[in-house]
């Protein structure tokens, strides 16, 4: 089993426990059933010994998620995860064919497209309904199952592809990452609906993750892991915490909103800042103009993040405790991320 994936799975389990503790009593049972099923499926993706089985588990999970119901129709819920499975199955087949080297490049295309479709990032954004509950929405794929799934698929893909196709795969991930950074951060800033802005902010963070995965050096992998950490243990719980204020359309400009906005923007000393430094260092080692493009993209995070920070409202009671814990964990991980890296053998 991959240590990075196990670490992320444990973090996902911790966030699930936090969501159960800090969520209102009404939706807790619903969350327990749906989240528990998702967590079991995610654990199965990590535990299975081959990538083929991981892809089949993904298909089973997609079926269960689509059949569980929600505001979006069954076909809309199932379509993109199932397309991801078709792309990944074809990619795995092409990676095993004997023949010209171009076949492996087709496999790399299929793997990159499959990862994007499974997670739900550009160009395969899952249709989103702002009124839908978080446990039924595409946030499940982008912030709960997606981080572990993408880690498993990307790490196992490197073992399937030759050096040449592996480089092409990395380049495609960087290209997808840059597009997602721009699309997500501009969307989070400019879109009218704040729930939709939250979703775009996840997409922007995934841009950083894909760039990190694409940089096939240690700093890139470390950056990807740290951004995934901030998605699962930062952005996701803060999004869940903001749902009540979003429903009531409450926006406040208190210090807590500024602090949360700073954490979401990846300002120092949060984990997002450390991830960005690592990403820039990795990009400079590999090809310095890429670092320049990344810096320009990272500047776009600020306006959207301040807006999302305001959407949290004024946290009270359990919710306030949850926000304090999330911010503290993110600052701690930003100041001292080494235990995270050593647990993942990075």
């Amino acid at each position: 089993m991959l240590p990075e994936a196990i670490e992320l799975l444990l973090i996902v389990a911790a966030v699930f426990a936090m969501a159960l503790v800090f969520s209102p009593a009404g939706p807790r049972r619903h969350l327990l059933v749906k989240g528990g099923t998702g967590l079991l499926g995610t654990a199965a993706i990590v535990a299975v010994p081959t990538v083929d089985l991981a892809v089949l588990v993904l298909l089973g999970l997609a079926l269960l998620d689509a059949a569980a119901g929600g505001k979006r129709p069954f076909a809309i819920r199932l379509r993109l995860p199932a397309l991801a499975v078709a792309l990944l199955a074809l990619a795995l087949a092409f990676s095993r064919f004997a023949g010209p080297n171009a076949l492996e490049r087709f496999a790399a295309v299929g793997l990159a497209a499959g990862v994007a479709a499974a997670v739900g990032v550009v160009p395969y954004l899952h249709p989103f309904d702002p009124e839908e509950g978080a446990s039924s929405s595409p946030i499940v794929w982008i912030a709960f199952v997606g981080p572990v799934l993408a880690t498993v698929l990307v790490w196992r893909a490197h073992g399937l592809l030759s050096a040449d196709a592996g480089s092409a795969f990395g380049a495609m991930l960087i290209g997808l990452g840059l597009i997602n950074m721009a699309w997500g951060s501009l969307g989070a800033w400019l879109t009218e609906n704040t729930v939709v802005a939250w979703r775009y902010s996840f997409v922007a963070d995934w841009g950083l993750v894909l760039c990190g995965f694409g940089l096939t050096i240690a700093d890139g992998q470390r950056a990807a892991l740290l951004v995934l950490f901030t998605i699962v243990l930062g952005r996701l719980p803060l999004y869940l915490g903001s749902r009540q204020a979003l429903r009531e359309k409450i926006g406040t400009e208190r210090p807590v909103n500024l602090i949360v906005g700073a954490v979401l923007a990846g300002a120092a000393p949060s984990a997002g800042f450390a991830a960005r430094v690592l990403l820039l260092r990795g990009a400079t080692q590999l090809y310095w103009p890429l670092a320049l493009v990344l810096v320009l993209g990272m500047l776009l995070w600020l306006p959207g993040s301040l807006r999302l920070g305001r959407s949290l409202g004024r946290p009270r009671g359990r919710q306030a405790i949850g926000v304090v814990i999330v911010v503290a964990i993110n600052v701690l991980a930003g100041l001292y991320p080494l235990p995270l890296f050593s647990a993942a053998n990075l």
């Binding site: 083929d52 298909l59 119901g69 199955a89 074809l90 795995l92 087949a93 095993r96 004997a98 839908e132």
Partner: protein, 179 residues
């Protein structure tokens, strides 16, 4: 000879799933497709794995055949789907037989054509029975892809695919609600 026929049968089943709108037609497509894949698995991985695929396909077929609904084969306006089925088959045949080398050309053809056609069907339909039938065929093709590496992958991919194919046919998705 048998391998080649089995590959053709697998493609035919996937093409039936693409060309049918009725539950019986979809069930027939799943049955034919799983039969072709089971024969290919029998050749490469042995009788136990082939039996798992066959049982998964059979379980997936029952609810559609018992539904009492029509076959819905090639309804009006399905010419583009027919062209798609033939084009995907020809492309997969060209890659499997001419571009790639080594044994197992029929399995390569079956995996590419069934996965490609199922993926296309998933993208093009909003009907739950159609999507579930396509997902069943896709699961079996994804499991068969595991055998392309050379060594038999063991029974687990086939068992997982059989559970997905069999389970999806019996699934009754909830309609969109205010959840």
């Amino acid at each position: 000879m048998i391998e080649g026929l089995a590959g053709f049968v697998a493609w035919l089943g996937a093409a039936l799933v693409v060309l049918s709108d009725g539950r019986r037609g979809l069930a027939a497509g799943t049955a034919v497709s799983s039969l072709g894949i089971a024969i290919l698995v029998l050749q490469g991985s042995g009788p136990v794995d082939a039996a798992i695929v066959a049982v998964g396909g059979a379980v997936a077929t029952i609810p559609g055949l018992r539904s009492g609904e029509g076959w819905g084969l090639m309804p009006a306006g399905s010419t583009p789907r027919l062209v798609l089925s033939i084009a995907v088959g020809l492309l997969a045949l060209w890659i499997a037989a001419s571009i790639t080398t080594g044994g197992g050309a029929a399995l390569r053809f079956a995996v590419m054509s069934v996965a490609g056609l199922s993926g296309a069907r998933i993208l093009s339909s909003d009907s739950s029975p159609v999507l579930l039938a396509a997902v069943g065929s896709l699961a079996l093709a994804a499991a068969a892809a595991a055998a392309l590496g050379g060594a038999p992958p063991g029974p687990w991919p086939y068992a997982a695919a059989a559970v997905i194919a069999g389970g999806s046919a019996w699934l009754r998705p909830r309609t969109a609600s205010a959840a």
